[in-house]
C-alpha cells in the first residue's frame, strides 16, 4: 500500500467519521501506520487542498480531525442552516471563558469574577452543551461544579484545553511594585491543582 493510498484512507476516515477522529484511531485503522505518520498524512492532505484551491481543510478539534469548510464560505453555508447560525453573546463568552480557565468551578466562583449573576447564562450554556456539570464540590452545600464540554472544543476549534488563548499574567497587568496583589485571596482554586471532585449523581 503506497503513500497515496494511505493518504486517501486517512482522508476517507476524516470525511466519514461523525465525530472528530483521533490520530490514534486513524493509526489503528491504517495498516502499519504510526501516529507521527498520521500527522504527516493530514499535513499532506491540507497542502494538497490549498494547492487545489479547495473550499475546505482538515482541522484539529477536540483531540481529533474534522473536515471543515473555510470561513470565507460561511455566508453561503449559513443559508443552508435549518436553525439560526450560532451566536455568542458577550455574557456567554465571558462566562465560558471563566469556566474554561477555572474548571471545575462553582457558580459562585464565576459570579465573583464577572461581578454579576450568571445563573441564566450558565443554564443556556448547558442547554447548548458547551458547559457540563462536573460533579459537586465537597464543601457545605455541595455546590455544583461546572466545566467545559467536548462540544466547546469543537465549536471553538480548539484541539484541547491547552489550546486556549493565554490568560494574561496578573503581574503584567499590574506594573511591578504598583500594588501587591494577594493571590491567596482568590477564592477559585488554581486549575493546575487537582481537585477532589465528588462524582455527579448523573
Amino acid at each position: 500500500m503506497d503513500r497515496t493510498e494511505r493518504r486517501r484512507i486517512a482522508e476517507a476516515l476524516v470525511l466519514g467519521s461523525p465525530d472528530p477522529i483521533s490520530v490514534a484511531r486513524i493509526a489503528d485503522i491504517i495498516p502499519y501506520c504510526k501516529p507521527a505518520e498520521v500527522r504527516q498524512l493530514i499535513d499532506e492532505l491540507n497542502t494538497e487542498y490549498v494547492k487545489q484551491g479547495r473550499a475546505f481543510e482538515i482541522t484539529e478539534v477536540a483531540g481529533g480531525y474534522q473536515l471543515r469548510s473555510l470561513p470565507e464560505f460561511a455566508p453561503y453555508l449559513r443559508q443552508t442552516l435549518k436553525v439560526r447560525p450560532l451566536r455568542m453573546s458577550q455574557p456567554a463568552l465571558e462566562t465560558l471563558a471563566v469556566v474554561a480557565y477555572r474548571q471545575p468551578a462553582t457558580r459562585a466562583e464565576v459570579e465573583h469574577i464577572r461581578g454579576v449573576d450568571v445563573g441564566a447564562v450558565l443554564r443556556s450554556l448547558i442547554e447548548r452543551k458547551l458547559v457540563r456539570i462536573a460533579g459537586h464540590r465537597d464543601v457545605p452545600g455541595r455546590p455544583l461544579l461546572y466545566a467545559t464540554s467536548k462540544r466547546f472544543l469543537e465549536v471553538f476549534e480548539l484541539a484541547s484545553l491547552e489550546d486556549l488563548p493565554t490568560l494574561r499574567d496578573l503581574q503584567e497587568l499590574a506594573p511591578e511594585g504598583a500594588l501587591v496583589i494577594d493571590t491567596d485571596a482568590d477564592p477559585a482554586p488554581s486549575s493546575d491543582v487537582p481537585e477532589q471532585v465528588a462524582p455527579s449523581p448523573e
Binding site: V14, L15, G16, S17, P18, F56, T59, V61, Q66, L67, R68, S69, L70, P71, F73, A74, L77, R78, L81, K82, V83, R84, P85, L86, R87, M88, Q90, P91, L93, E94, L96, A97, V98, A100, Y101, H112, I113, R114, G115, V116, D117, E154, V155, F156, E157, L164, P165, L167, R168, L170, L173, A174, P175, A178, L179, V180, I181, D182, A185, D186
Partner: protein, 277 residues
Amino acid sequence: MTTSEPSASPHTATSVSPYGVKLHAFEGPLDLLLHLIRINELEITDIPIARVAEQYLEYLEVMREFDLDLDVAGEYLLMAATLAWIKSRMLLPVERDEEGEEVDPRAELVARLLEYQRFKEVASELGERRLLGRDVFDASAPGPVGPSEAEREVEISIFELVEAFRSALRRAGPSGAPHEIEVETVTVQERMVAVMEAMGTRDTIEFDAVLSAEDGQLVHRAVIVATFLAVLELTRLEALRIFQGLNGNGVPQGPIHLRRGEDAAATNWRGRIAGSM
C-alpha cells in the same frame, strides 16, 4: 468607532455593527468600572476612588432613568456600596497588616478588576475565533436533526399563537346557546392529555388540528380556550415545541406545528402533566 450623542445615552458604549450603530449596556459593575477607568485614562492600580465613585453613581442614575439592567441593579448597588466603603477607608489613617506593610483599601477591588479584565480579554479572543456553526461548518456530522422538508425552525411569537387561537374561536360555536343547560367542564389538564394523545406516535401535528374536533363539528369555546392553555403549558413543560415554516423570503408563514419535545420530558409527558398540576 463612533461616539454616541452624550445627551442620548451616556450610559452605554457604542460600537458599529454592520447593521448600524448598536447600543449595548455594560456587562456588570466591573465592566462599568473598567469603562470609567479607560475613559478617564486612569491607572488601574491607582484609582482615584472618590472621583470614580462619583462618576459611577452618575452612570447608575442615568441607567436607572432608562430602566436599564433592572434585573442586575442589585449588583450595581452592591458595588456602589463597596466604592463608598473604600472611599471612607481612604480617609482613615493608613492601616498596616501584621508584617507592618501598608494596606491599600483598594487592593481587593483592584485585584478583582484585573482578574475581570483578563477574562474579558480572552472572552473577546474566544469570540473572534472561527466558530463552528457561524464561520466554519463540518462535513461529516449529520448535524442536529432539524425539522424535515423545507420547513425551517423559527421562534413563534405569542402573537402568532394568539392569532391562530382567535381564528379557532371564530370557527367555534357560540359561547353557549341560550337553551343549553348541561355544562361540560373542561380542565386544562384533560386537554393536555388530549393534545398529547392526538399526537399519538407522530412527531408533529398541526396546531389547528388540536383546536378543532376530529369529526369537523363545532368545538365549544371553553374547550378551545382550555386547549390553547394546555398547549402553552405543554410547551413550558418541554413536552412540545411550537414551529412555523418560513416562506422564500424568510417570513414565517403557513400552519403552525406542534412538535414533540426532544428529551425525556416528551416521553414522560404523563408524569410531567401529573406533576405540573
